[in-house]
Symmetry: C2
Subunit: 217 residues, 2 copies
DNA sequence: TTTAAATATTAGAGCAATCTAACATTTTAT
DNA sequence: ATAAAATGTTAGATTGCTCTAATATTTAAA
């Protein structure tokens, strides 16, 4: 197990390389809010520890060892978030920042007990899958709400963003995991969509918001 | 709020200066498992931040500001320990090491909710008082079992040591907070004592153990 | 009261993690 | 194809926290 900083790099590399399998120094620098040379020197350290594979001017990839460590941290993060919601009664919009800290707690006992108390959950409060203790994860993501055709009805399964401001926005619109929504109108000009929702009210979402909401038809 | 390292120094200074109001560099070095010059240089930094008062070759004292910060950390540590026992079902012997990590979590929401869930507890699983959110603490310690006269019966209220090996030892002897014990014999030679306990068995404790157990007659 | 032992401080160094400034490479635009 | 822009790397410095070796002060012993 590495330092807190190292764990945060590994986790970010994992998250940002999900799509293409690799991530660039500049993307990491932005995400971690540090300068490029800082990332550059850390990547070299991680490479020396065989956690990432990297050649100058190329994308950064996690090794198997790195991936395993990343999944362990993601597991702790998501278990912590669900725990904070289910046991401590916090809102889904306020748990991410606390989980950022709890994910670094080094205690298998602690996470075993949380896992058991929550009855071995499969998803976190944002609908993201929780890797099991061996690192297996079910990455079934379905469709983005921004791609759902007009007239179709679907159920919200996840949001791929857990920043407070985003979730506060959804709370204000009254949207939650499990809600059924129907796309009434998709605007060609800006990609915004109008939804019919159980609240009976029509809800307007910008593309920026809709693309972070995932649904199952 | 300072760094994790700084918080650990402040907490140790608080703990070790309880008795006399001050603590020496060598005592801190031993407790924190670092060398003397390490403590020396850190103390200077803490003094620059007005967290401790210190003059070369003199004892180290916490300032009011330092004391306030120490009590905040102690509060979080003890709330965490009780939470781990009451909510997660861990044993009193295994919670200290986890609490050492949780005490550094920076989230008032997290600790507010734990406090509420536990119904604003006054004591941790080892019988140590939990400072309230303003830093007030009830330091009623009573008598050490090592000072209890032969023939007297008293109730165990606290243990002033939460290392696993010590608590494992008490578990093996069957002693718990709240138990009633009677001193049958006190040995002059080595300070060891023999107790009568609800388990009906006689229990022999060395002085080293008895002095860490506190009772109320 | 002089010496020895214990304790504390200073000097100088190393590593992790960060930065700025300068330089190099790769990608994109003209 | 060349220039400009974007991206990445190297060099060198800083801060926090730690160390060893050398020196100083205080306390205890002879
Ligand atoms: Mn999160
Ligand atoms: Mn989440
Ligand atoms: Mn403890
Ligand atoms: Mn305790």
């Amino acid at each position: 197990m590495g330092s807190l900083t190292e764990e945060n790099y590994i986790k970010s590399i994992y998250a940002l390389s999900q799509a293409t399998g690799e991530v660039y120094v500049s993307e990491l620098a932005k995400k971690l809010e540090v300068k490029l040379p800082t990332v550059n020197s850390m990547i070299k350290r991680l490479a020396a520890k065989k956690l990432v594979a990297y050649a100058p001017y190329q994308g950064i990839k996690l090794t198997e060892k790195g991936k395993k460590e990343a999944l362990g941290i993601v597991r702790k993060h998501r278990l912590a978030e669900l725990f904070l919601v289910k046991v401590l009664g916090l809102g889904w919009e306020e748990v991410h920042d606390i989980a950022e800290q709890l994910e670094h707690v080094n205690s298998s006992r602690f996470y075993e007990r949380i896992d058991e108390l929550l009855d071995y959950p499969k998803f976190d409060p944002h609908g993201e899958p929780i890797p099991d203790s061996s690192g297996k994860i079910h990455a079934q993501k379905g469709t983005s709400l921004s791609d759902l055709a007009e007239g179709l009805t679907a159920t919200i399964t996840a949001v791929t963003e857990d920043e407070k401001s985003f979730l506060d926005h959804l709370n204000a619109k009254g949207l939650q995991i499990g809600d059924s929504v129907t796309v009434m109108k998709r605007e060609f000009f800006d990609g915004s969509i109008t939804l019919q929702h159980k609240s009976k009210k029509e809800i307007l979402l910008t593309h920026q918001v809709a693309e972070r909401i995932w649904v199952e038809v």
